[in-house]
């Protein structure tokens, strides 16, 4: 036990003197949380809209006003023809165009079905979804109230609709992106720094020739691996705490469930990433290569793990691939605990999957480490 401690002691001194790495360890989570917390918001509002109002009646103006009142749209001007709409969409002045047909008002008043057209710029699918949802909601409401009015005029009592859908959102009722992003961000930051620090830590020893000195010493491979990894576990926890605290203070992102359980299960995830970092270190000859590999690995993690894009929307092969990423399972664990108050029984499946990945990574990393360092 003495030798791993000696190595860990040395790693900590080196880290203390390495201002750049130290800055990265602290600045990266802070920067990322501010970036993701403030800047990235997936519920789109204030979509610029042009209006082609061919009716120009009180009813049509009322419809437009109601749409704007949702704050989903900003009026980006009026169009007097389809050609003008096309220009506005193509030039990016507007993302959405509303076309109110002639006789809109008279159709509505006579109880005929009136068609309102919403033209949407489909080049950004996420905007499309938000734009259509908001308009559909407004128009449905309007149709319902018009129906009631008509019945009232005809002297008949209002009839309740046969089926009503009443959506109730749990866990993040306001659907705020920050609350969803903060727990997931712990996983992304840990993936990034844990892998990079270990991979570079060994690559640096190789580059400077000190690895050779360690290999001729009585230090065993396992002792060396443990000594190298232990300090980084501490750093991982430090980063995680930093994100959770800032998330709480700046964005009000809560931890509903047990903090203790979250930290316990995080150990498995941190260890899996460290093992992956060790594996990369056996492939990289220089610190630069180790860095490149870490970034190369990070990208599929961000894209496939469900951190940014919903897992359910991915094609099957991508889903299988993402099952192999530790981050996918950790995201479910951390979101489960932080947002839904999930306990260990709820998370057994994900914990098991993470454990399997961890064991495989350790086996592969130590086999390669043994071969390569010796």
């Amino acid at each position: 036990m003495r030798r791993p401690l000696v190595i860990a002691w040395k790693e900590l001194i080196q880290l203390r003197r390495d201002r750049l790495t130290l800055a990265m360890v602290v600045a990266l989570p802070v920067m990322q949380i501010i970036l993701f917390g403030y800047a990235i918001n997936t519920d789109v509002r204030h979509i610029p809209m042009v209006v082609f109002d061919q009716d120009a009646s009180a009813d049509s103006r009322d419809l437009v006003a109601t749409l704007l009142a949702t704050r989903s749209y900003d009026r980006a001007g009026d169009a007097r023809s389809y050609a003008e709409i096309e220009r506005a969409l193509r030039g990016g002045r507007a993302r959405v165009a509303l076309v109110v047909p002639p006789r809109f008002s008279s159709d509505v008043r006579r109880g005929r079905s009136a068609r309102v057209q919403l033209i949407v710029d489909g080049s950004d699918p996420q905007t499309v979804a938000s734009a259509i949802d908001a308009a559909a909601g407004v128009v449905a409401d309007r149709a319902a109230s018009l129906g009631v009015e008509r019945l009232a005029r005809a002297g008949q009592p209002a009839v309740a609709p046969a089926v009503v859908l009443q959506p109730t959102t749990w866990y993040n009722p306001e659907l705020r992106t920050a609350i969803f992003v903060v727990p997931g961000l712990t996983g992304v930051i840990l993936t990034m720094t844990m892998i990079m620090l270990t991979a570079m830590g060994i690559a640096r020893e190789r580059e400077r020739g000190t690895l050779e000195q360690l290999v001729v010493s009585p230090v065993g491979r396992v002792e060396l691996m443990i000594g190298k990894i232990v300090p980084y576990v501490g750093i991982g926890y430090l980063q995680m705490t930093l994100i959770l605290v800032i998330g709480r203070l700046a964005f009000g992102a809560p931890i509903v469930g047990s903090v203790g359980l979250l930290y316990l299960l995080s150990l498995l995830f941190i260890a899996a990433n460290l093992a992956l970092g060790l594996f990369f270190s056996t492939l990289a000859r220089t610190q630069q290569q180790a860095m490149q590999m870490s970034f190369f690995f990070l990208l599929p993690n961000i894209l496939l793990s469900g951190f940014m894009f919903p897992f359910e929307g991915m094609p099957r092969p991508a889903q299988w691939l993402s099952q192999a990423l530790p981050l996918t399972h950790f995201l479910r664990i951390v979101r489960g605990i932080a947002l839904k108050g999930a306990g260990l029984p709820d998370l057994l499946g994900e914990t098991g999957a993470l454990a399997v990945i961890f064991v495989v990574l350790v086996a592969v990393a130590s086999a390669r480490f043994r071969k390569k360092v010796g």
Partner: protein, 341 residues
């Protein structure tokens, strides 16, 4: 290729069983043969040099002796342990200084020593380890620099820290892989003082070098060439066995004179004469098989009207012996015969 005789010249040196003993050690990497045939015997307290050009197999040999590289053929014992099966035992009992000093450049001098002391359990831990570190610092003259960051030291000081680190656990056998590369001459001399002191206390030292002057400071040495040992013995024995003689002279037109002599050697007009080398204004001409180069040189240069001054016999060095051996090997290969035995 057999190992030379015991070079011990009295005293404690050479007592007991050999510290290193190998038989026909070989190592290849795929189809590349790094070490062909190395049989060595090194005794306690000896400073033994492996001398040879880059790529001759010196470092590969050392790595096998340290137990970090398995031999492809042959075998041996180091500090009483089998190199193939008792690598871990060997690692505990040797010190190893790598070519690049391998310090942690972001640790202080003292932290470097403490780190290695901790790894080897030097001094028994706790107070004993601290005392050992202090002692090593004092011995290497590093006490006043103990808090300096190792990366800010000059080459000579780094070398001292590296040596102090490699010997912190007082190993009976010390490997030095090109220990003085990139170190100024004064520091080199100090370093050799430390090495001789260690050897006098009973530490066995095996070092590699391609500096010929450094080889002459070893008790015994082996020439390594193309993965095999060409000759082994004390520097004097090796030089003596070659039957080399050398002269120095000052010529009026040294470049022309050297070209002329080399042409004559190539054309076979100067039997026995082997090498012409520039040393500042002085030309150095060496010959083998006991031939005196002086009359040949005088005759050839006089024929061309090149004035010669101060033609005098010169001391034959290890470098002369080495160059001569390599040339002989080249000649043997060029003539299609077997490599020099």
């Amino acid at each position: 290729m057999s190992a030379g005789s015991d070079g011990g010249d009295g005293g404690e040196r050479g007592d007991g069983p050999p510290v290193i003993e190998t038989h026909h050690l070989a190592r290849h990497f795929g189809s590349i043969v790094a070490v062909r045939d190395v049989s060595l015997t090194v005794h306690r307290g000896e400073i033994f040099g492996l001398l040879g050009p880059n790529g001759a197999g010196k470092s590969t040999t050392i790595r096998m002796l340290c137990g970090i590289l398995d031999p492809s053929g042959g075998g041996g014992r180091v500090v009483g342990c089998d190199i193939a099966t008792q690598a871990e035992e060997i690692k505990r009992r040797i010190g190893y200084m790598t070519q690049r000093f391998s310090l942690y450049e972001d640790l202080t001098v003292e932290e470097n020593l403490k780190f290695y002391a901790g790894l080897y359990g030097a001094g028994g831990g706790g107070q004993g380890t601290r005392a050992r570190v202090d002692e090593s610092l004092a011995r290497a003259g590093l006490t006043s620099r103990r808090r300096q960051i190792a990366g800010t030291l000059s080459g000579g000081w780094k070398q001292r820290v590296a040596l102090a680190s490699a010997t912190i656990h007082r190993p009976p056998l010390l490997f030095l892989d090109e220990p003085t590369a990139g170190v100024d001459p004064v520091s080199r001399r100090d370093f050799w003082d430390l090495i001789h002191r260690l050897a006098a206390e009973g530490t066995t030292v095996l070092m590699t070098t391609h500096y010929m002057d450094e080889a002459e400071r070893c008790h015994r040495l082996s020439f390594v060439f193309a993965g095999a040992l060409l000759d082994t013995g004390t520097p004097a024995e090796i030089v003596g066995r070659r039957g080399l003689r050398a002269v120095e002279l000052e010529a009026a037109r040294p470049i022309e004179a050297a070209d002329l002599l080399r042409a004559a050697i190539a054309a076979g007009e100067a039997p026995g004469v082997e090498e012409v080398a520039h040393f500042g204004a002085v030309l150095r001409v060496s010959s083998r098989s006991g031939v005196d180069p002086a009359p040949v040189v005088a005759r050839l240069l006089a024929a061309r009207g090149i004035a010669v001054a101060n033609l005098r016999p010169a001391r034959v060095t290890v470098e002369d012996a080495f160059v001569s051996m390599v040339r002989e090997d080249e000649r043997a290969r060029a003539s299609g015969g077997e490599a020099a035995a």
